[in-house]
């Protein structure tokens, strides 16, 4: 993002038209994020925190357009299904003397602690 307001004769200014979105695509975007993070094992507070963070632009934009109540409803819908189960990841035992693997991203076990 440029630091200043764009200048009309700046050759790098985007020239084009915006493709209109609608409430349905915002709701679907919110549902997609809620489903993905619920499947990864995030809890309600964690998912809502993502939506509130202005640095997570997609979710935050959906929150701005849909409002707190609607986003909370979408998140609860996702958690109602994906929050019912959790995933456990088990590594195969490493051969003795092998170089240390950078290791799996062990979100399964990490999430157990979070919960």
């Amino acid at each position: 993002m440029p630091y200043d307001e764009p200048e009309p004769d700046d050759p790098q200014v985007l020239v084009g038209v915006t493709v209109p979105g609608d409430a349905e695509s915002a709701r679907e975007m919110a549902a997609a994020f809620a489903d993905e993070f619920a499947r990864m094992g995030f809890g309600r507070r964690q998912i809502l925190a993502l939506f509130r963070s202005p640095r997570y632009a997609g979710a935050h934009d959906a929150l701005a357009r849909l409002g707190d109540v609607e986003v909370a409803r979408v998140v609860d819908e996702s958690l109602g299904v994906w929050g019912q189960v959790r995933l456990a990841v088990e590594d195969a035992p490493t051969a003795p003397g092998s170089a240390a693997d950078a290791g799996p991203v062990d979100s399964g076990r990490f999430l157990k602690v979070l919960k």
Binding site: P20, G21, R55, D61, V81, V85, G103
Partner: protein, 422 residues
């Protein structure tokens, strides 16, 4: 021009050289629904391969905020427009998809960048339709991107609340990109010195730095703009697919093929990379238990990026489910509707395979899926959902197990304020 089989287009097409295929092909699947544009992948590549003088503008891995951003700017809109001008109104798909006919996405009746070049450019001097981006299109990799900046003149600090991020008043998504190590590379086709080659063992496309004289024909030809010119060496460089890791010669790898830096570092767990087996005509050999084969050819949730360009790219994407379909069909071809339908309503095997993403840095060559008892039945947004206590087991190149992921019994969720109490 010799004819080669492009299975993504469902037909033969003209290419500069006769077909020749590697023993196995480097390929990857990115799940766009999960990408958070953290740019960790981008920085992992940068800090490994392109941190030297003269490489400042080289982002072999990058993540774009579509439809606004692009690096170099508007790379996709520009090449699509050139193709449209070469073949007005005719850049279309026809024929219904039929895996039996070798047309999983139907048939593309428009012109590829190779075919359009043959029709519109003087042969031999230019073999591929393309363009050389001017310097200003390479200069600002974060223009129109969702990358926070600090206040003017303030270094190393972001705005407290991130309000300097651009606000998009419409849909958008993040498209992570690397070189597609194409089956019919445009960069290779265009190089007058034959300095670019595709490795017979894994299909990784490399530029021989001894042979390159910096003519930039590859930069002009690559429709994805993943070949990048380096002024201080006067040669062109590109993504090398972290080949020491893929070969298993990296000290960290224990001799086992390992996923690349940008894959291994992915925070959103959107990436899976593999090596796939090929038939004699370059299509994917049936390998039912390979997770990439499953995602691309069985579940069909992962689709090639701009297949109509004709290079048969080996990067596949699970399309973002909230984005208007015409845009997605242009970007990923006619398979989009089916892919999203299946992704939104995954069956139990697809759910299990999605659990393989980023659980290990070793390349998964095979998975096994063990069915368990039903643990949940209900509905989500009006559709029935059933969950099972299934297990998915991943195996490496030596046939040994890497890890297993299991769905556990219904969970009693503690109130979060007591999460860690005994």
């Amino acid at each position: 021009m010799p004819q080669v089989n492009n299975w993504q287009l469902g037909r033969d097409m003209g290419y500069v050289y006769d077909a020749k295929y590697p023993a196995r092909q480097f390929a990857f699947v990115f799940n766009i629904n999960r990408c958070i544009a953290c740019q960790t992948c981008t920085m992992a590549c940068k800090s490994t391969w392109t941190f030297s003088k003269g490489q400042e503008h080289m982002w072999w891995a990058n993540v774009e905020s579509k439809p606004y951003g692009g690096y170099p700017q508007s790379w996709d809109a520009k090449i699509l427009r050139m193709l449209e001008e070469a073949n007005p109104g005719e850049q279309r798909w026809s024929e219904p998809a039929s895996a039996d006919n070798g047309q999983p996405y139907g048939q593309y009746d428009g012109q590829t960048i190779f075919e359009a070049a043959e029709q519109t450019l003087t042969p031999d001097s230019a073999r591929v339709l393309g363009y050389l981006p001017p310097d200003e299109e390479w200069n600002s990799p974060n223009i129109y991107e969702d990358n926070p900046v600090g206040g003017r003149g303030v270094r190393d600090r972001l705005h407290e609340t991130g309000e300097q991020l651009p606000i998009h008043n419409t849909w958008f998504f993040y498209l992570a990109r690397i070189c597609n190590h194409c089956s019919y590379p445009a960069c290779l086709a265009a190089c007058p010195r034959k300095a670019i080659y595709k490795r017979p063992e894994d299909g990784i496309v490399l530029i021989d730095q001894e042979q390159c004289r910096g003519y930039r024909k590859c930069v002009e030809a690559c429709p994805y703009k993943k070949a990048m010119y380096r002024g201080n060496t006067r040669t062109t460089e590109k993504c090398i697919a972290c080949y020491p890791r893929v070969e298993g010669t990296d000290p960290e790898s224990d001799g086992q093929p390992m996923e690349t830096r940008c894959m291994a570092s992915c925070i959103g767990q959107i990436r899976m990379q593999g090596l796939v087996q090929l038939n004699d005509d370059g299509s994917w050999a049936e390998d039912r238990q390979n997770p990439l084969y499953y995602l691309v050819h069985v579940a069909k949730v992962a689709l090639p990026l701009y297949p109509q360009l004709g290079t048969q790219p080996n990067g596949y994407y699970i399309p973002p489910r909230w984005v208007p379909r015409p845009y997605l069909r242009q970007m990923f071809g006619p398979g989009v509707d089916e892919a999203i339908e299946r992704y939104v309503n995954p069956d139990r095997e697809l759910l299990a395979v999605l659990q393989l993403f980023r659980r290990s840095n070793k390349i998964i060559f095979r998975y096994e899926f063990e069915e368990g008892p039903q643990v949940y039945e209900g509905t989500l947004r009006g559709r029935p959902v059933t969950l099972y206590n299934d297990t998915v087991i991943a195996f490496g190149s030596d046939g040994n197990e890497l890890f297993r992921t299991t769905v556990e019994e219904p969970l009693h969720v503690r109130p979060e304020q007591h999460a860690n109490s005994i």
